[in-house]
Symmetry: C2
Subunit: 217 residues, 2 copies
């Protein structure tokens, strides 16, 4: 398709499409003449990916990192996946060089991960995220009890298992793309679902309570 | 304790404590003389709450709403809880008056909630959050399949159940305070745990794969 059709199909303005082409966020089309190029479904998908990540709050510099990793065919898939997820927010407020981060201890996160028997790379940003989140809990006077770790751990594992089971296993670019999109886009779904589950459970409890109170009167 | 001790105990600077007092974010101390007041554990806890919500990105105007709801003893607890959770981010980009929101349809969120058999108030911000999150999925070419709804729904319900089970049921202010803090502060814990569960599962899968490949060679 021509660039005008790509604009019509995706709703991304022409100036933005050209900007993404210049910045390497969108792969070039197939040159058909001195002034024209042809685009296909991979361009439609890439634009959807870029728009989704921008809408999720990623700066374009981070989107570029993700896009380059999706197109990376040289490094081991597991390493590429890890680096792609690292490029997603939240970004650690004090991001340090790998060596310093690796040398640092994350005692709260380690306690949780060891209790759950999980393998982890201490340099992985999610370890720092977990440590920061647990620090914030403590600062507010809450604590992550063993009971909560066990229940959260079991259910989060169930969620992660379906995430991986539904991930396309080939071609390789699809795996990386789906992993990045899935991490970025299902997080707000899960957050909203938890709040709605609270509302549902609380409604049932409070309705029961007011029912019981009426019976006692 | 005197205000200087409150500063020492909490690490919140004196100027900030005075500002919070003026703005009604911190309840006044007990007046002991023309120039002095006495503070206690409730002030320490309130400062921890305010700091935790500010650190989570809440503007002070929203923190004030939460604080007023914690101190609200007149309205039904279920309504107060709902309004307190509403005050937390993310804020819907186009927040409309209640009437308009109530009149609006959220077809994607409704499909999920009806499949899960959950009660919900269509004016609740989390319904809009869920709708927006599902729209973003669709825009990126992903979809929320029934299989994923069922698995996510079951595990999120398990998480919500332990959340409610561990919530203090009295006094009433503690319930509201713990619900707000729990919603705000366990969300990043769960997000980080999901990413780390992905890493753990992926590591096991890829280690198995490379092991199998070596055996085949």
């Amino acid at each position: 398709m021509r660039i005008s059709e790509l604009v019509a199909r995706t709703g991304v303005p022409l100036a933005t499409v050209k900007y993404y082409l210049r910045e390497g966020l969108l792969m070039p089309g197939e040159i058909t003449s001195a002034t024209q190029a042809r685009y296909d479904e991979q361009h439609v998908r890439r634009l959807a990916l870029v728009r989704a990540l921008v809408a999720r709050g990623l700066p374009l510099s981070q989107v570029k990192i993700v896009v380059d990793l999706i197109d990376n065919r040289d490094d081991p898939l597991f390493a590429v996946l890890g680096r792609a997820i690292e490029a997603l927010p939240p970004y650690a407020p004090d991001s340090e060089p790998d060596d310093a981060a690796g040398a640092r201890d994350h005692p709260r996160a380690r306690r949780v991960l060891e209790r759950l028997g999980q393998m982890y790379d201490p340099r992985f940003a999610a370890v720092v995220q977990l440590e920061r989140a647990l620090e914030a809990l403590e600062a507010a006077g809450l604590s992550m009890t063993d009971e909560r770790i066990d229940v959260y751990g079991r259910h989060i594992r169930g969620i992660a298992e379906i995430d991986l089971a539904l991930l396309p296993s080939h071609p390789r670019q699809d795996t990386v793309e789906a992993a990045v999109l899935g991490t970025a886009l299902y997080e707000p779904v899960l957050t909203a679902m938890r709040r709605l589950a609270h509302q549902d459970l609380a409604a049932r409890i409070f309705l029961d309570d007011s029912h019981n109170q009426q019976e006692q009167q």
